[in-house]
C-alpha cells in the first residue's frame, strides 16, 4: 500500500474510516443524546462526499482485482450524492422515539453497504465483485426489517434476504460455469476467452439473471414491490436509487468490457428484457394506490429504459446510462423525499391520500410534480434528456422498433404519473394532508434534488463530461 493506492481507494477508505469512526463514536454517546449521531453522521458523510470529488488518475491495484478510473470514481460520487440525500431525508424518520436506539446503526450499515458498492464498481475480478455485491445487498435486508415492529417490514426483510440469496446462488452457479470455460476470475483474463459457446451462454444467463434481480428487471423483479412497500421509506429510496445505480454501473461495465465478445447474444436477451420490463412495470404501476409500491413499479419501468442504454453498447450507451442514473438519483429522491415528508407528518402513503395536497402543501406538491414529470420524461426537466439519450443510444445501434415500443410505454407511464399529479392538483378531498413544515435537512435535500432535476438536463457539460469519462473507460 502506498499513497497512490490510498488515493485510488479513497472512496472506500474514507467510507470505512467514517463508518468505523461513527460506530466508535456511538459508543461514547449516552443513550439520551443518541439523536446527535444524526448530525455527526451527516457531517461526516458530507465530508466523505466532498472528499470523494478529489480528482485522481485511475489505476489498477491488487494485480487487477481493483480497477479504478475516472468513470468509476464518478459513479461512486453519484452514489455518494444519492446516499447523502437519503441521509438528509431520513433525519425526520430517525428522530422518532422508537428509532432512537438504532440511529447509528442505520448510518453505519448504509455506509458499509456503500463500501460494498464501491468495491463492486471497481471490481476487477469476480471474487471482489461477488463479495462487494453481497456486502451491498445483505445488510440491506436487515435494514428492510428496520421497522421491526411492523409486520410488513419484517416480511420485507425476510423476502429480500431469501430471494437475494437464491439469486446470488444462481448467479454464482453461472460464474462457476464461466470460470470453467475461461479459467480465470479476472476480467482482463476472461475477456479474450469469451465465446458464444453454450456453456458460457448458460453461465452468462445465470449471471445476468442474478444481476437482473438486483436491478429488478422483469421477470426477476417480483421481490421489488413487496420489499419496497414493507421497508422504511429511506431504505426503499436506497434500494431503488443507490442499489439499482450500483448494480447498473457494474453490470454495464461488465457487459461492455468482459462480455463484449458475446454482445450479439446479450443484446438480444436484453432486447426481450427491455420490453418485458417496461411493459410489465407499467402494467403493474397502473393500478397501485400505495405510493411506495407505485414507485417500485415505476422504478422497474425506469430500469427498463435504462436497459435501452445498455443496448447502445458503445460510449454513448455507457454515457446515457450513467447520465440517466444521475438524473434518476435526483428525480427519484425528490419523489421519495416528498413521500417521506408526507408520511412522517401524517402517515399517509397512498395516492388517494394525496388528494388536495396542492391546496395545503403547494411546495411539496410542486416538488413531487417536478419529480413525476421528470420520471415521465417531460421537457425541460432532466428526465426528458436522460430518456432521450437512452433512446438515442439504442437507436444508434438501429433498434428503432425497440425505441418505438419504449417511447410508447413512456406514454403509458405518463398516465400513472399524471394520476398522482391529478390527485395532488385536481382532485378535491374532504380530508387532505394537513399543512406542515418538513425538517430542514429534508428541505435541503429536496431543494438540492429539485435543482438537480431542473439543471442536469440543461447542463450539457455534465453529459459531455460523462461522455469523456466513458471514452476513457471503453
Amino acid at each position: 500500500m502506498n499513497l497512490h493506492s490510498i488515493i485510488l481507494l479513497r472512496h472506500e477508505i474514507l467510507l470505512t474510516v467514517a463508518a468505523v469512526g461513527v460506530l466508535f463514536a456511538d459508543v461514547f454517546v449516552p443513550r439520551e443524546k443518541k439523536h446527535n449521531m444524526i448530525t455527526v453522521s451527516l457531517i461526516v458523510f458530507t465530508l466523505v462526499t466532498l472528499l470523494g470529488f478529489i480528482p485522481a488518475q485511475g489505476g489498477v491495484l491488487f494485480g487487477g482485482s481493483y480497477q479504478s478510473s475516472h468513470m468509476t470514481d464518478f459513479m461512486k460520487d453519484i452514489l455518494n450524492i444519492a446516499v447523502l440525500l437519503i441521509f438528509l431525508q431520513s433525519t425526520g424518520y430517525l428522530s422518532k422515539p422508537e428509532n432512537s436506539w438504532k440511529i447509528t446503526e442505520f448510518f453505519v450499515i448504509l455506509m458499509f453497504v456503500l463500501i460494498g458498492m464501491d468495491f463492486m464498481i471497481s471490481a476487477g475480478d469476480f471474487v471482489i465483485f461477488y463479495v462487494g455485491l453481497e456486502t451491498a445487498s445483505l445488510p440491506l435486508a436487515g435494514l428492510a426489517a428496520y421497522d421491526r415492529y411492523k409486520s410488513k417490514s419484517a416480511e420485507a426483510g425476510v423476502k429480500l434476504i431469501l430471494l437475494s440469496a437464491m439469486s446470488s446462488a444462481v448467479m454464482l452457479f453461472g460464474l462457476s460455469l464461466i470460470y470453467a470455460s475461461t479459467g480465470s476470475i479476472y476480467f482482463s483474463d476472461i475477456l479474450p476467452k469469451i465465446k458464444a459457446t453454450p456453456l458460457i451462454i448458460l453461465g452468462f444467463i445465470f449471471f445476468l439473471s442474478g444481476m437482473g434481480f438486483k436491478l429488478s428487471v422483469v421477470p426477476f423483479h417480483l421481490w421489488t414491490a413487496d420489499v419496497y412497500e414493507g421497508a422504511p421509506i429511506n431504505i426503499t429510496a436506497f434500494l431503488s436509487v443507490v442499489s439499482k445505480g450500483a448494480a447498473a454501473f457494474i453490470l454495464i461495465i461488465i457487459l461492455f468490457t468482459v462480455f463484449k465478445n458475446i454482445s450479439r447474444e446479450w443484446e438480444w436477451i436484453l432486447y426481450a428484457l427491455v420490453i418485458t420490463t417496461i411493459t410489465i412495470g407499467n402494467l403493474f404501476a397502473l393500478r397501485q394506490d400505495n405510493i411506495k409500491r407505485f414507485l417500485a413499479f415505476s422504478s422497474i419501468t425506469q430500469v427498463g429504459f435504462l436497459l435501452l442504454g445498455f443496448m447502445g453498447n458503445n460510449e454513448l450507451g455507457l454515457t446515457s446510462v450513467v447520465y440517466f442514473m444521475l438524473i434518476y438519483v435526483f428525480t427519484n429522491l425528490t419523489a421519495f423525499g416528498v413521500v417521506e415528508a408526507i408520511y412522517n407528518a401524517s402517515n399517509v402513503e397512498t395516492i388517494s391520500g394525496y388528494k388536495g395536497l396542492y391546496k395545503t402543501n403547494p411546495l411539496l406538491s410542486l416538488a413531487m410534480m417536478l419529480a413525476l414529470f421528470s420520471l415521465g420524461g417531460i421537457p425541460p426537466l432532466a428526465g426528458f434528456f436522460g430518456k432521450f439519450f437512452l433512446f438515442t443510444a439504442a437507436a444508434s445501434r438501429g433498434y428503432y422498433i425497440l425505441v418505438v415500443i419504449a417511447a410508447l410505454n413512456a406514454t403509458i407511464s405518463l398516465y400513472y404519473y399524471l394520476r398522482v399529479v391529478k390527485a395532488m392538483f385536481i382532485d378535491k378531498s374532504d380530508n387532505p394532508v394537513a399543512k406542515f413544515r418538513s425538517t430542514w435537512p429534508m428541505r435541503i435535500s429536496l431543494i438540492i434534488s429539485s435543482i438537480g432535476i431542473i439543471y442536469v438536463g440543461f447542463a450539457s457539460n455534465i453529459f459531455e463530461f460523462i461522455y469523456s469519462l466513458a471514452k476513457g473507460l471503453l
Binding site: T319, I378, T392, V403, V404, A407, L414, L418, F425, E464
Partner: protein, 498 residues
C-alpha cells in the same frame, strides 16, 4: 443577443413575475403586458421580414444563431426564422394575446393558470423558432404537457378523463416522433465525426430511401396525431370540449399547427422521396379527415364539439394541402394553418364567452342570442362565415390555394380526393349555418337569456384582434403569400428536386 431569444425570454420573465403576484389584478396585468410585448415583437418581426424579404418573394433564414449544446450528439440550440415560421410566430402571438384577455376573469388559481398558459406558449414559440430537431422536440413536448394541467384543473365536464386522453394520445404521437427523429439523425451522413439534428443540414442530403420509408410514416403519424389526423383525432373533440376557453383557443389555434408544421418541416421536407411514395395513404386519411370531420360536426350538440370536429376537418385540409406537394397547395396549407388558427381561436373565444353567459354549451338550449348579445352574436357569425370559407376572410384564400394546388395533379386519384375535399365546403356550410340558425337566430328559448349582457371591453379587444387578423389576410393576401412563397422556394426545390 439574438432577437428571437426574446420570444422565449419574455414569456419566461412574465412567468417569473407572475410568481410574485398576489392578486388576479396584478397577475393579469403582468400577463397582458408580457403578451402585448410578445405580440409587438412578433409584429415587428413580421414587418421586418416583409420589408426585407417577404414582399420580394425572397427566401432567407434571418436571425440565425447556432449554439452548440451537446457537442457529442451534435445537438445545437439553433434558431432562426424564415417567412413561414415568422408567420406562425405572429399567429401564436396573436392567439396568446387574445387568450390572455379572454381569461381576464380567471379567478381560480389565477397565477398557476397564467403560468401554465404562458409556458405552453413558450413551448410553441420555441418550436417555431428552432431548426434543430432536438430542440424542436423539446419545445414540442413542452407545449403539450401544460395542457394536462390546464384542462385538468380549469376545465369542465369529465375534464380529468379528457385531459388524460389528450395528453396520452399526444405523447404517444410524440413517442413516434422521437423514434422518427432519431432515425433521421442516424441516417444522416457523418460529417466531422457527427450525425446532425440540424434541419437545414439534413435537407442538403438525400436520406437513404429505406430509412425514409421507415421514418416518414413514423414522423408523419407522430405529428399527425397533433394535427388530428384521422383516425388519431379523437382527443380533439373531448379535449377541446373540456378545456377552458383560452386553452381551447391556444390548442386548436396554435398547437394543432405544431403537428401540421412538423409534418411539413420534418416529415415531408426532410424525406420527400418517401413522401412521394407514401403520400397516397395519407391523402386518403386526410381526405377522410376533412369530410368525416365535417359530417361529424353536424350531429353534435355541444358547441365545442362542433368546433372540434370542424377543426378536424379544417386541419385535415392543411395536411391534405401539404401532401399535394406543390408550392401552391403547400402555400395554401400554411395559410390555412394561420387562418384556421385565428378562426378557431375566435370560435373558441366566443364559445367561452357565450358559455360564460348562458351556462350551457348545448346549442339546442339556446336561441335568438343575436338579439340579446348582438356583438358576440355578430362575431360568432363572422367566425362562422370565416369557417365556411367566405371570401374576404383568410380561410377562403387558404382553401383556394389548396384546391388550386391539388388540382394541379391531373390523375384520377388526386382528382377524386380533391373533389371530395372540396365538397366539404358544402358540408361546412350546412353545419355552420345550422348551428348559427339554431343558436343565434329564431326565438329566444329561455327567459333568463333576455338578461344577458353583451361583450365587455376585454372580450371585444380579443375578438376584434382576431377578426382584424383574419381580414388582414383575407382581404389582401398578397403580402403573406409572397412571404410564404419566397420561403417555400428552397423547400420546394428539395421536395420536387428529389
Amino acid at each position: 443577443m439574438n432577437i428571437l431569444n426574446f420570444f422565449i425570454i419574455v414569456p419566461l420573465i412574465t412567468v417569473f413575475l407572475i410568481l410574485f403576484s398576489k392578486s388576479l389584478k396584478t397577475t393579469r396585468i403582468i400577463a397582458a403586458v408580457g403578451m402585448t410585448i410578445q405580440l409587438l415583437l412578433a409584429l415587428w418581426l413580421m414587418y421586418y421580414y416583409l420589408v426585407h424579404y417577404g414582399l420580394k418573394q425572397l427566401h432567407k433564414m434571418i436571425f440565425v444563431s447556432d449554439t452548440v449544446w451537446f457537442p457529442t450528439l451534435n445537438i445545437h440550440y439553433a434558431i432562426g426564422v424564415d417567412g413561414i415560421s415568422t408567420a406562425m410566430i405572429l399567429l401564436t402571438a396573436i392567439v396568446i394575446f387574445a387568450g390572455v384577455f379572454v381569461s381576464w376573469t380567471m379567478e381560480n388559481l389565477h397565477r398557476e393558470f397564467f403560468i401554465s398558459l404562458i409556458v405552453l406558449a413558450t413551448g410553441v414559440f420555441g418550436f417555431f423558432i428552432s431548426y434543430d430537431l432536438f430542440t424542436m422536440l423539446l419545445f414540442y413536448e413542452l407545449a403539450v404537457i401544460p395542457m394536462y394541467l390546464l384542462i385538468g384543473i380549469w376545465g369542465s365536464g369529465p375534464k380529468e378523463k379528457h385531459a388524460m386522453k389528450l395528453t396520452l394520445m399526444l405523447m404517444a404521437g410524440s413517442a413516434l416522433i422521437i423514434a422518427g427523429l432519431l432515425g433521421i439523425y442516424f441516417s444522416t451522413p457523418i460529417v466531422n465525426g457527427h450525425h446532425t439534428f440540424n434541419m437545414l443540414e439534413i435537407s442538403k442530403y438525400t436520406l437513404p430511401i429505406k430509412a425514409q420509408r421507415l421514418f416518414f410514416p413514423l414522423t408523419f403519424v407522430g405529428f399527425g396525431v397533433l394535427g388530428a389526423l384521422f383516425p388519431f383525432h379523437t382527443w380533439s373533440p373531448d379535449g377541446h370540449a373540456s378545456a377552458p376557453t383560452a386553452v381551447s383557443m391556444l390548442h386548436a389555434g396554435v398547437l394543432m399547427k405544431l403537428g401540421t408544421y412538423g409534418v411539413f418541416r420534418v416529415a415531408i421536407y426532410l424525406m420527400p422521396e418517401a413522401a412521394h411514395e407514401m403520400a397516397w395513404i395519407f391523402i386518403i386519411l386526410t381526405s377522410i379527415s376533412v369530410v368525416y370531420g365535417a359530417f361529424g360536426a353536424i350531429m353534435q350538440k355541444d358547441l365545442k364539439y362542433i368546433n372540434a370536429y370542424s377543426s378536424v376537418s379544417h386541419v385535415g385540409m392543411i395536411t391534405f394541402g401539404l401532401l399535394m406537394m406543390n408550392a401552391t397547395a403547400i402555400d395554401g396549407a400554411i395559410l390555412q394553418m394561420i387562418s384556421h388558427g385565428i378562426m378557431t381561436a375566435l370560435f373558441f373565444a366566443l364559445i367561452g364567452m357565450i358559455y360564460g353567459r348562458t351556462h350551457t354549451r348545448n346549442v339546442y338550449e339556446m336561441g335568438g342570442l343575436l338579439r340579446v348579445i348582438p356583438f358576440l352574436g355578430t362575431m360568432y357569425m363572422i367566425a362562422g362565415f370565416a369557417s365556411l370559407g367566405l371570401p374576404g376572410f383568410s380561410g377562403f384564400v387558404a382553401e383556394l390555394n389548396i384546391f388550386t394546388g391539388a388540382f394541379l395533379h391531373a390523375d384520377l386519384f388526386h382528382r377524386v380526393a380533391t373533389i371530395l375535399v372540396i365538397s366539404s365546403i358544402v358540408v361546412t356550410a350546412v353545419y355552420i349555418l345550422r348551428f348559427v340558425g339554431i343558436m343565434l337566430m329564431g326565438p329566444i328559448k329561455h327567459e333568463e337569456h333576455l338578461k344577458l349582457k353583451d361583450a365587455t371591453w376585454y372580450e371585444k379587444l380579443s375578438t376584434i384582434t382576431l377578426v382584424v387578423s383574419m381580414l388582414a389576410i383575407g382581404l389582401y393576401p398578397v403580402w403573406i403569400i409572397n412571404t410564404i412563397m419566397g420561403s417555400l422556394k428552397p423547400i420546394m426545390l428539395k421536395i420536387l428536386g428529389g
